[in-house]
């Protein structure tokens, strides 16, 4: 008996990790909040620890209008030009 596989015939998109930062001292931080309750507060609090401990500066606060959809590429492209690393996470 011959059975077809029910899986997609297109391979998953390959994702590549960004290179590890050698130091975070004095770097520019971006914050991407997902619009959920307390997300902005939690992420800003988190970013402030980097400011206090490593002299970082918060340069960008970006918002997602839909927490469960990928951030629009235009948002990511813009943020990538302005910051050295991005903090994001699920607020709720």
């Amino acid at each position: 008996m011959q059975l077809y596989s029910p899986m997609s015939t297109t391979p998953k998109r390959k994702s590549v990790r960004a290179p590890v930062l050698s130091s975070i001292d004095g770097l520019r931080i971006g914050v991407l909040e997902n619009g959920k309750l307390n997300a902005e507060e939690m992420l800003n609090e988190f970013a402030s620890l980097f400011v206090q401990r490593h002299g970082c500066t918060v340069r960008t606060l970006a918002h997602k209008s839909n927490a469960s959809a990928p951030a629009p590429s235009a948002t990511l492209v813009k943020v990538a030009q302005e910051v050295d690393f991005l903090i994001t996470g699920l607020g709720d």
């Binding site: 011959q2 059975l3 596989s5 997609s8 015939t9 998953k12 998109r13 839909n66 469960s68 959809a69």
Partner: protein
């Protein structure tokens, strides 16, 4: 751009029961036995769509995994679909593929929604779908297997796996299958496919990320206001109220009361929107009030029916899909809440294309 590869074929022993067990072992099922997707049945399913099998009808936004007609056909066979059901499955994914539906988010979320499919128009009768008694229950092959095929595609093609990429806190029974036909017999309103603007004779499927099922019982109400006030109360209970959309399926008994009084669908939508509300004070008491949502509803462009001091369900009356379904007897309508807290998924519809 990922390169498509040929569909994989597995050789298994010529033993049907062993093949069913083999499918379990591959992790291809929803927990119930599947029909082993033998090559001949998949080809018969594909014959229901004139396009090449490699035609892509949907793509996962995060992983890039594509749904081809071929993969859809394999899963439709496994779900138990007949070839004449296939155009409904295809149309469902053409609707769900739009970014506004957000099938990734509504499947991955803790909210536990399932795609509710509402099939409208003559094609539902042609393939023997149930729009009548026990509408959401078991017993009809087309309803059961079209909904099940949708789930199997999310699982097998898009890899939305329970516990891994489907993190539903509780899920809901509709995640096995959630597919109904709109009842045309005795329906005083234009069918959904007509209201959606499709040409006469064209059927449609509407996809909606449904968060469960809420029965609305009212055997004593004899006016549209009484019946619809019961529905509105279900829509606005503290557990369900959000700015999300709504689906309301009116029982024929309830629809007769509303239709005989001359109410149109639009009037019923206006009434439900105006009545399905909670006060800001009450929402605050239960910890669900958010300034941002209130402002969204009451800001520029919000519908005039949004009453100050109250949170209504949805943003406008058009956010409420209402139609008729179910058996002749019984004052049991239903409200299907939307996925989770807001407007992360907006219902979509598509034409069912015959080959």
């Amino acid at each position: 751009m990922a390169t498509a590869v040929q569909p994989r074929i597995h050789e298994v022993p010529d033993d049907l029961l062993a093949a069913i067990d083999w499918c379990y072992e591959q992790g291809w099922t929803d927990g119930l036995p599947v029909v082993p997707p033998v090559v001949e049945r998949v080809k018969a399913m594909l014959a229901a769509d004139a396009r090449p099998p490699e035609t892509v009808i949907s793509t996962h936004p995060a992983t890039g995994l594509d749904l081809s007609l071929h993969a859809a056909a394999v899963n439709a066979v496994m779900a138990g679909c007949l070839p004449e059901y296939f155009p409904v499955v295809v149309a469902a994914f053409e609707a769900m593929d739009r970014p506004e539906f957000n099938f990734h988010g509504s499947t991955a979320s803790t909210g536990g929604s399932a795609p509710l499919l509402v099939v409208s128009g003559p094609y539902a009768d042609e393939i023997g779908m149930n729009a009548d008694v026990n509408l959401f229950g078991p017993g009809n092959r087309a309803n059961a297997t079209i909904g099940r095929a949708t789930r199997l595609i999310l699982r097998n093609v898009f890899q939305m796996l329970p516990g891994i990429s489907d993190k539903s806190t509780q899920g809901n029974p509709g995640k096995y299958s959630f597919c109904i036909a709109e009842r045309s017999r005795g329906n005083p309103w234009p069918l959904l496919c007509e209201a959606q603007g499709y040409p006469k004779g064209t059927s449609s499927v509407t996809a909606y990320a449904g968060g469960g099922f809420c029965n609305v019982e009212n055997h004593g109400g004899n006016t549209p206001e009484q019946v619809l006030a019961s529905v509105a109360d279900a829509m606005a209970n503290y557990g369900c109220i959000t700015l999300g959309q709504s689906v309301v399926i009116l029982a024929p008994e309830h629809m007769k009361i509303i239709g005989d009084a001359g109410w149109t669908r639009e009037r019923a939508q206006d009434f439900l929107f105006s009545q399905a509300k909670r006060s800001v004070e009450g929402m605050t008491d239960v910890g669900k009030y958010r300034d941002r949502e209130y402002d969204t509803q009451h800001g520029d462009g919000a519908h005039a029916l949004a009453e100050q001091g109250f949170i209504h369900r949805g943003l406008t009356p058009q956010d409420i899909l209402i139609t008729m379904g179910g058996g002749d007897a019984g004052g049991h309508s239903c409200f299907i809440p939307s996925w989770s807290r807001g407007r992360g998924s907006i219902m979509q519809h598509a034409a069912i294309k015959r080959s």
